[in-house]
Amino acid sequence: MLEQQLVNGVVLGATYALFAIGFTLMFGVMGVINLTYGVYFALGAFAALWSTQGLDLPIWAALPVGALIAGLIAVVLDTLLLTRLRKAKAPELSSLMVTLGATLFLYAGMAAALGTEIRRFPAAVFSGGAYSLGDVRVGTTQLLILGAAIVLMLALLALVRGSRIGLAIRAVAENPDAASLMGINGALMLRVVSFLSGAIGGAAGVLVGLNFNAIQPFMGEHMMLRGFAVIIVGGLGDLRGALLAGLILGLAEVLTAAYLSSTLKDMIAFALLVATLWFRPLGLFGRAAAKRA
């Protein structure tokens, strides 16, 4: 049934968009594809799981806890890995490789520490059933996911577009040296951005963990391919692009799975990625400022 699939697609797309927004914010400001981003996704989910199980927190409280912890870890990792390269003005490939090595290290470490079996949120987290609208059923979890994704995205957009901190962040993204001459504390802004992206990634992890009710250390790895597709299709570093491309990917996946095959579903992300690179390399909202060789 088409309406139901559209609802499912929008919910899935909202989580993709949320995930990609943090990812693309990181790229947009720091100019680095930070592969550790997938780790924050799993860390957020595990932190939320721990707070629902260990601290008996309800899910609306566990979500911020997951985001907060993921954000703090993002700040620590960014400082450890990238400060030195930034000082040396190393090429972007070095930064990419450092985060790659760190990602491998962290995934293997998480698998060793947390185990690779799939974990689930306690049943009590899922209280509340589903609402029916005509033939279309919408679960409470789905509504929570959609609501949280929309609120977080609007908050982030408002912060970046409409506040003084956002202005400072955009200035650093545009030109770090000029920004520091204008009295902006560039290092602090990078920490703020790391925290925000990590927190967004962590929140996305909690929501996706809820949606599939499955949490394991490698969940971010699976998500990163979608993340790449979304930020490339939307235009690297563009928040609106990530939003739109996330929804497109979510809908495309759900509709393919429903009407074509579930094998093809897993390839949609890559097909979108390659098609974009071929025909519109700068993405939907790409600016000409993107570096060309």
């Binding site: 990419l96 290290f105 570096k291």
Partner: protein, 279 residues
Amino acid sequence: MWEALDDFYWTYQSLIHAIGVNGILALSVYVVLAVGQLSLGQAAFMGVGAYTGALLTVKFGVPFGVSMVAAALVPALLALVVGGPTLRLTGVYLAIATIGLGEITRIVFLNWDYAGGALGLSSIPERGGVAAIYGTLAVLLVGLTLVARSRVGRAMEAMREDEAAAGVMGVNLPRYRLVALVVSSAMAGVAGCLSAHVSSFIGPNEYGFEAAVTILSYALLGGIGSPLAPVLGSTILTLLPEVLRPLADFRLMVNGLIIVLAVLFMPRGILPWRIARTG
């Protein structure tokens, strides 16, 4: 004397094979890194080569030589398709596109029942062995050393150090990038074919993201100043878990840590010397 060598060979057979195959893989990623690009698709290209060669041998019974040629050509063709769009863009796009490629080939192999699906292909006849592996490695080492010493090598190094300057000096950047990617994927395909024919089993999950990162760590540890450096890096990283048994469970963590430390503190690897040039 020969008996002792024979015993040694039988005990460490798979390790001896792995060192040679990983050496070829290290050279394949070296070729891309040497022009300042980053490919995370080496594992995927290796998988495509392994499947191509193994399917030809198992299903069609073609001679090993033909399997090897096909195992080089098919990944090279794939590299042309994927590499095309990235020629116009900087390295990050190639890295992302090749990560995606790795995931997609894994899904294809996983769902391709003719090629064994999730179970993979087993009982691939043993062909080639040590002679083929080390013969290929030696030929590639000599060939790449000659290339590195020539005008082409100078152009590659110029691209790596400063792409814009190299372009201004007349280096045809897109052509170098594409040729490097195609050659490197053909090499990875050959390595896959060789390893499939000594281990007699291939499966869809052997050629994933972790394998790609491991291959990259070979070249980063060794350095890319000369073709010998990545081979040294791969030998060390292949031997390390064997020599330090307790490390074996943490192999991936060690690989990751090595990449981080190599980029941060040893950007030129452990064999930093550049090759002398004649051209």
